[in-house]
Structure formats: C-alpha cells, structure tokens
C-alpha cells in the first residue's frame, strides 16, 4: 500500500526539506561535535566518537524536517541553530 499523498509535500517544499536535512543536517551535526570538542577536556574522545555519532546525528537531523509541515520553517530552525552554535564556538574558543 503506497503512502497516502495527502500527507506528503511536493515541489519546492519537498526540495526545501531534503536540502535542509542533507546540508543543514550535516552542518548542524558537524557544528554540534565541534562545540562539544571545544567544551570537553578530552578532545580526542569527541573526535573518535564522531566516527559513528556524526552520521547518526546527521540522520536524525535529516528526518526531522520531514516531520514538520513546511520545509521553509525547517530551514529557518536549522539556520538559527547553526548560527547559535557558531556564536557559542566563537565565544568559548
């Protein structure tokens, strides 16, 4: 039974969700590990752990936009979060 299309977005909205998940999701996951690496004493452990957690977190961030109603909203949330993490990184380093 194919999924009911009334629940699915289409066109630019879908494109926004995919790009938000793929590009925004990666940047968010990478920035998260970056800030964590700056905060934690044992930097090497963060890097070693990111070998698997980076991709898992990226996958979580890839899925989240699809659960939202609008792709544009997903991009806004992601951009705000990325800017927030960049600011934190800038302040603590």
């Amino acid at each position: 039974m194919p999924a009911n299309p009334k629940y699915l977005s289409s066109g630019p909205d879908r494109a926004a969700k995919i790009t938000a998940g793929l590009i925004g999701g990666y940047l968010l996951s990478a920035m998260f590990h970056y800030v964590l690496g700056l905060l934690v004493e044992n930097k090497a452990a963060v890097v070693a752990t990111s070998v698997y957690t980076l991709y898992m977190l990226w996958m979580v961030f890839f899925i989240i936009p699809f659960m939202m109603k609008s792709g544009a909203k997903a991009w806004v949330y992601y951009l705000v979060s990325i800017v927030l993490l960049v600011t934190i990184a800038y302040l603590i380093r």
Binding site: N4, Y52, M59
Partner: protein, 683 residues
Amino acid sequence: MSSESKRNYHVFFHLHTVSGIVISTALFVIFFCGAFALIKDEITAWEKGDKVNVEEAIDIDYDRAIEVIKSEDYELYGRDLRILVPDAKQEIYFQLSESQDTIKAPTKEDKLYYFFIDAHDYTWSEYYSFYSIGELVYRLHFFSQIPYVGIYIAGFVAFFFLLAIVSGVIIHWKKIVSNFYVFRPKAKAKTIWTDAHTALGVIGLPFQFVFAVTSCFLCMSIFVLAPASLIYNGDQDKLLEEVRPMMRTYELGQPTENIGSLNGFMEDVQSRWEGFTPVQVYIRNYGTDNMMFQVDGMLMNQKKFVAHGRAIYDVASRELIAEKLPDEPNYLEGVEATVRALHFGDWGGYPLKMVYFILALITCFVIISGVLIWLTAREKKNISASQRLFNRKVGHSFIAICMSLYPVTAFAMIVARVLPRSMDDSRQSLLYLAFFIVGTIVTLFFRFKRSNYFTTKYTLLSGAVLGLLIPIVNGLISGNWVWTMIAQNQVEIALVDLIWIGMSAIVLFTLTKIKKPEPLSPSHKELLAQQKEEFTAESTSQTETEKPMKYKIAILWLASAIGYILHGMYGLYGVYYHENMMMDDATGHVPLSHHLWRVGLEGLAFLFSVLCLEVKVRWFYWTAFTWAILQGMFNVYHFFTALMYEASNVSEIVALAVMVLISIFLIKAFREWNKELIVWIEK
C-alpha cells in the same frame, strides 16, 4: 491513531519507499560484491593456484626484503615504510612514504611508492601485476571503477541505506514482534514478499545497521575530518598523534650508514604477548640514527573483542621504547579498530566470514523483496497506463541488473581461472571485458525479455551451472580439486570452490520450488495501446498550439554542442596567462582518443540536432535519448569532479553547471517528444 501520528506514519512510509527504491540497484550490487569481497584474498590465492602457507609467509625476513627493494633502485633514506603482513595472497605489501628530508632528498624521491614483495621467494612485483577477479569485485563494492566520485556515491548510498533502515524500523515498530512470526507462503505474491521482507529485514537488522554506519565512515571520512580539524584548530599533526597514534611520525634524526638488522623484533613482540597476530609494521625514519621498528597487531583470544597492541623499538639500540599493551583498554584506538573489524568481519575466522557472507546475501534478498512489494503494489487499475509502463520498466531493469550479477560473476571467475599467467599484462582488461561488457549484454537481454519470472529462472539456472563449473575448471587446470585441497588442509583455496558449490546447491533446490506466475494483465502490448490513447487524449485536450518538441530538442542539442566547444577553448585559456601550453607527453600528433572525444561530444550533439528535425523513427529516438542520458551523467560527473578538484576555476564551474541544466532540459524534452511520437506513429 491520532491525525498527527497517522501523518507521520505515511511520511515515514514514503521515506522508506523512496530511499529504498532510489538506492536499490546500487545497494544490491554493493552487498552482492561485498559478500565476495570478504574472501577477496582467498580468491586471489585460488586464482594463482599456488599452495598457501600463511604461517611461513608471516615469518618475514625484513633484511632480505629491504635488500630486494634497494636492488630495485629505491632510495630509502628518510622515508617511512609501511608493511602489511601477508594474508592468503602471500605477498608483503610495501608502501614508501615521501622522504621527510626535504633538503637532502632530490625531488625525484619526493614521491609515494607501493608494491608487493613475494612472501616466499622475495621477488618484487608491481601492485597491479596480477589483477584478481577478487580485486575487481572488491573495488566494485564501493564503485571504485568510477574515478574520484565512485566512493562518495557508495557513501551516500550507505547514508540513504541508514535512512531506509531507520524509517523501516519506525513504521514496523508497533508490530515488529508479531509480524516477525507471520509467514503466509500460500497467500498471494505481495503478501509473501511483505512477510519475507519484514522477517528477514528484522533478522538482518543489526548486521545492516552496522554496515550502514561503518560504510558512511569508510567512504566519507572527510565529513568527520572537517569538524575534527576545526576542534584541533587546523593542527593536523596533533590530531593524528592523539586520535590515531599508530600514524604518529617522528622528527628525522641524523643520517647514518650503520643500519642494524630489522629481524628479531617481531619474535620479541610475540614472546611478550601470547597469541599476538601482527597486522602492520612501520619502519620509521629509515637510514637515520633514530630509525624505529613499529609493530601493530591484534591479540586473537576470546577475552576481548578488539585487543590491539603496539610495540615500538629503537633499531640502533634494539630497545623497546614504547608500547601499548593489548589488554589495556583504550577507547580512542578501540573505536576505529571496532569499525574496521565489524566491517571486514576478520575477528572470528572463516566461520564468522561465512555468517557475514550469508547475511549479505540475505540483505540482497531483502532489497529484491522490497522492490517487488513496490512493483506489485502499483499493478492497479487506477494507475495510468504510462505510469504502469514506467513502473514495470523500473522493475525489469532492476531485476535484470541484480539477477544477472550472479551468473556474470560466476562466468568472470571461470575466465579468471582459465587465463594463463603469461597473460598477466592484459589480465585486467580481459576481466573487465568478461565482467562489465558481458554483464551489460546479459543485462540488456533480460531487460528486454520483459519477464521477471524468465529473468529470475534463467539467471539462477545459468548461475548455478556456471557455479558448479568453477571447481571443475579449477581442478582441471591446476589439479587443485576440492577434495585434494581439503586433504592437504588448503582451506583458503577449498573455501572458494565450496562457496560456489554451496550456492549452486541452494539455488538448484530453489529452482525446483518456483512456480510460473500468471502473466501480467494487461499485457505489455495492451498497456502500450492504452498509453497511446492516453497521450492522444492529452494532446487533443491541449488548447494552446504547442510547437513540436523536435525544435526544442534541436536547439538544446545545439546548445550542448556550443557548450562543448566553449569548454574546449578553456584549454587555450591559460595561454593568456602564460601557462605552459604543451602537455607533458606531447609528440606533435593529436592522439586518436582526442578525436573520439570531439566526435563523441560535439559531433554527435550537432548530428542529433540536425537529424531530430527530419527523422521520425523509434530507433532514432531511443539512440538519441540514450546518448542524452549518458551525456547528462557525464556532465553531472564532470561538474562534481571540477567542484572537488578545481574549485577556484569559477567560470568553468558555472559553465559546467549550465551544461548540467541543458542536459536536464534535454532529457525532459525527450520525454515530451516521446508522447508526440507515440501519438503520431500510424496516424
């Protein structure tokens, strides 16, 4: 179910379907070839036919190997030597780093080398002097045959495989236990596929999850490296030293003529740690007074999953200067060791590899059953004829590619075994011919038979027969019959034959069970007729007078031809900025390949542009359409490689992006033209 969770269910269902279908073919190839990649070194040993004696091979005479390397005219001073201890291939892999002495070493030596030294008679050979079918299949399992981008394609397939796994678990979560026990073999086709897909999917879940995550890292480690080097403020050396201590390099000492023996250290390590199996050896700072001998390896006991140890000796004083005990837990080194052990399945001997092999083939079955669910769910009356034709086309192509892989691999194995050693020089080309060209022909044949039952039956039958021929051919050629190999305890060689015999036995048993299904209704012909009606209705209902698509296509072909010519002019661009104009190996003659590229890209684009105005036959449409797709894929490939390797060449990248856009429009226009042609023919 609340409306929100109902919506999420459908969203995840769609994510699972789309991600699964998009990667299905690539993922099948990866898992099928990956299964054989587990035993690639055994396949090499089997192909060469020499008796395997790994114990003797591991006992390396390092001084003798160094003598051989020196006699091959390699200057070793200032280099780090990386040595991989021989496996079933019985060759010692050597990699020479660039010389670290930037002042003393002439530029000629500032180069990386890698080659093999035979583990028994210590002869030098080039890395690819013997191209094994095992190597071909192993390389195909991460698409290494596609230069530069192949491994990233494999990486993104792994990423979307992870998506398919996660979304699959979410949609099955509520019934994951009860559905596992549901099996209705007497029900209709779609039910059987659904039951098999969920049950086998759940059995293979941990295995598949491990492969999705580890493959992401192994193919796309660059994504981890980027934040990691940011954390270390761009200090790559410090990053490597802390996170991957085995890679640590040392400042070069003073040159010395007096180089001590490299033998004896390995025996010392093995007497320290019982059951220690060396994996790789580094000889650091060769020819200096702080030359080091570093051993990395695993303790193969049942106590710990990854018990990796390291010992570093100072060659001059013969003293142990640093060690990492195998029993000592170390998270940092443990992570990567675990990732690799889990992916390569080398932590439990051959029984474990066989479990991996079977799970990989089970995953192949999960992929096929997934696609078959997708197909049968779309054989419905309310779906338009053109859409149904398209879905069937996807199904026929998928089944043809995936199922052909089995007999084609068996065939290529036979070719690999039959080729004599005197033809080692052309071995790679001949194996490519036997695997890729024969594979393409076989795939096209089954694709256009348009019957998944026919394809499945005859690929399985031919694969099983060819698979049984493999041990026979091997025995006839080398006398390495399975029973003699087992009697002589040559497990490595016997294993390859046994796997093929085992697969054939299971497949032949399966063949006795498969039944011919009812032919699809409506048939292909009926659907074609319905499609024509559909398109005719569509074109008569259009009120505006569209120009025939052929003009649009002609202009697009012309645009791509102009694009290629503009691109050709980039070669001359550097002249303005005093770039060296001559290619390194230019002889004054234009090589034939250059003409072929020109004819292929510019010539064909011009030709198709003119022809599509006049020619209105189906074979021309399909030829031009196929070329448009190939050209489109080439343009996308070119765009990404340019982005990766010459990102500063902004104007070229913009031009290449425009070419990609033209290709997309062209392919879209072709689909529209197809409708016109279908309506027009026999009007």
